[in-house]
């Protein structure tokens, strides 16, 4: 049993179009720096978890593949999937393995090589991340489409506009331009977003996160190991909340919020004893697979009241210097969204921000030493809210 669990090593591949590497090589690109920062070797790992949605890439038995490539055999492993929250689900398995006392050192890897398949094939596959028969088979919903219905409902209820949504893309590209690991390292303006072609009204090309190849890795350790190894550079997992939503959107009451995310946030805040998130957190990474869901996330996470999320982005309150910096690594929007890697990439960002290791121009002020990540699979089908801290709970 270990009451507390810490991240003691992190690694992150360059996100983007990675035609230069195969699946195993892309895994190693994140694993190697994770071993190095933790000062560990593969033989030290007790258990490893791989988060990958797969389907679009050739290799399906990724835990076995990396056991072979990186000398992790014969240690135990597990592959997990929770749509776009796959990475956080993988962290949960590692976190619980240590909490339960079955392991002291766990490697968690998130990996996706989406561009091994043609773009239309990937669009076809992601559209199936809902209720297959009643949404996809008969009505051809696409992933942007599911979230676009939330964008529409939000605009009509609270008077937000397509220009407001564009502001989220502008912010996230601003920080993506300062992140050397991001897929899109260039700033854009509102006009660029508004002039881009419609994908699923009201979302245009620049409202959408891209199809990305990438990997991210963290190494988790028990409290005892942290002491034994005398590790100074670490961040603790203070709490994690998990929620699930219905498969079919028509079985839900509301399209301006994600009930699963509110449920996960409530748990995470209760365990970490956080009552006033914007005062008790230094920043957050939220699941901006599209622009509107970032605004909805502000509200689901209690950064503001319902309907006021749009004011936060209009007033630039989620830039560094605002009431709470959000997605200052570029978010899914500009950093890229390799499905299984995203949740782990958010954890890497929490580690870098809290330890003041973020690149120039995108380091938030660390005052209270806590960072939040919000990772959503499907359209609120799965929601993980995790709080990281410099001090143990």
């Amino acid at each position: 049993m270990s009451e507390s669990v810490a991240i003691i090593g992190v690694g992150h591949s360059k996100f983007g179009t990675r035609k230069d590497v195969n699946v195993a090589e892309l895994c190693w690109e994140a694993m190697k720096p994770a071993f190095e920062t933790a000062n560990l070797e593969p033989k030290d790992i007790d258990f490893f978890v791989v988060g990958t949605a797969g389907m679009w890439s050739s290799e399906q038995a990724v835990p076995a593949l990396i056991a072979e490539y990186a000398d992790l055999a014969p240690k135990g492993s597990m592959r997990v999937e929770a749509a776009c929250a796959t990475g956080s689900a993988a962290i949960r398995v590692g976190y619980q393995a240590i909490k339960s006392g079955t392991a002291d050192l766990v490697l968690v890897l998130g990996i996706e090589k989406m561009q091994e398949s043609a773009n239309p094939t990937v669009i076809e596959m992601i559209g199936r991340f809902g209720s297959y028969f009643w949404e996809f088979e008969n009505f051809g919903l696409t992933f942007p489409g599911y979230y676009a219905m939330h964008g529409t409902a939000y605009m009509l209820k609270y008077g937000a506009t397509e220009e407001d949504f564009a502001r989220v893309a502008v912010k996230n590209h601003y920080y993506g331009a300062r992140n050397p690991y991001a897929q899109f390292q260039r700033e854009i303006d509102i006009e660029t977003v508004l002039k881009s072609p419609y994908i699923a009204w009201p979302f245009k090309l620049y409202d959408c996160s891209p199809i990305t190849d990438g990997s991210a890795c963290i190494i988790l350790a028990s409290e005892e190991k942290v002491k034994e190894m005398g590790i100074e550079e670490k961040v603790w997992i203070l709490s994690q909340g998990v929620g699930t939503g219905t498969a079919n959107l028509s079985r839900r009451e509301d399209f301006t919020s994600l009930a699963s995310a509110r449920y996960a946030a409530e748990q995470a805040y209760r365990i970490a004893k956080i009552e006033n998130p914007t005062k008790e957190l230094d920043g957050a990474n939220v699941h901006d697979c599209f622009t509107a869901p970032e605004i909805i996330a502000y509200e689901d996470l209690g950064f503001c009241k319902r309907g006021e999320g749009v004011e936060l982005i209009r007033n630039e309150q989620t830039y560094i210097g605002g009431i709470i910096p959000v997605n200052v690594d570029g978010g899914l929007k500009a950093k890229g969204h390799p499905i299984g890697a995203t949740g782990v990439s958010q954890a890497v960002e929490a580690y870098k921000q809290l330890l003041r290791k973020a690149e120039k121009g995108r380091q938030a002020d660390i005052r209270v030493g806590r960072w939040l990540t919000h990772n959503v699979g499907g359209t609120g089908h799965y929601a993980y809210v995790t709080i990281y801290g410099l001090e143990k709970r």
Binding site: K19, I123, E135, F139, G140, L141, T142, M149, H150, I199
Partner: protein, 158 residues
């Protein structure tokens, strides 16, 4: 592409168009087509043929749409099939411009969610100009033949 590459280089290896990095083009193509059981909800499809939109209703009073066979409230599976009134209010919509390849035979289509007057919600295509409607619009459900040749329900503004 692979054939040419094999003739030229001896392998199905081609340079990536943008980066020039060498790619082995998979020779093993996979086609997936599911067969999905509708045995438990076959009455729904019989209903569509008669122009009816059917939901299941448990003896405990709970109604399900899309229909489901089992009730988790009372753990029973004694459902009654009830006809819905086919009118309701639009709650949200989107227009799918970039379509999955398996829907490429269709023009951009509008997907909407409406709350029917019976209390359940329905997700389907919405007929007509999406710019002419917004949430709050009254809609009715029509059962019509799709391009694929089968019957399906759709929403139509009133």
């Amino acid at each position: 592409m692979e054939k040419e590459a094999i003739e030229k280089t001896g392998f199905p290896i081609v340079p990536d168009e943008k980066s020039g990095h060498l790619q082995w083009v998979d020779l093993r193509e996979l086609k997936i087509k599911y067969t999905i059981s509708v045995e438990g909800i076959k009455k729904f499809f019989e209903g569509l043929k008669e122009g009816k939109l059917l939901a299941t209703k448990c003896k405990c009073g709970r109604m399900f749409f899309p229909p489901q066979k089992d009730c988790p409230s009372c753990m029973k599976s004694e459902m009654e099939w009830v006809e819905l009134k086919k009118e309701g209010t639009l709650e949200t919509l989107t227009v799918i411009f970039v379509r999955p390849p398996s829907f490429s035979m269709h023009e951009p289509y509008t997907v909407a969610i409406a709350k029917l007057d019976d209390g359940v919600r329905i997700l389907s295509w919405l007929r007509g100009d999406p710019r002419a409607v917004k949430p709050g619009q009254r809609v009715r459900v029509e059962i019509s033949k799709r391009k694929e040749g089968h019957l399906m329900f759709e929403l139509v503004p009133i």
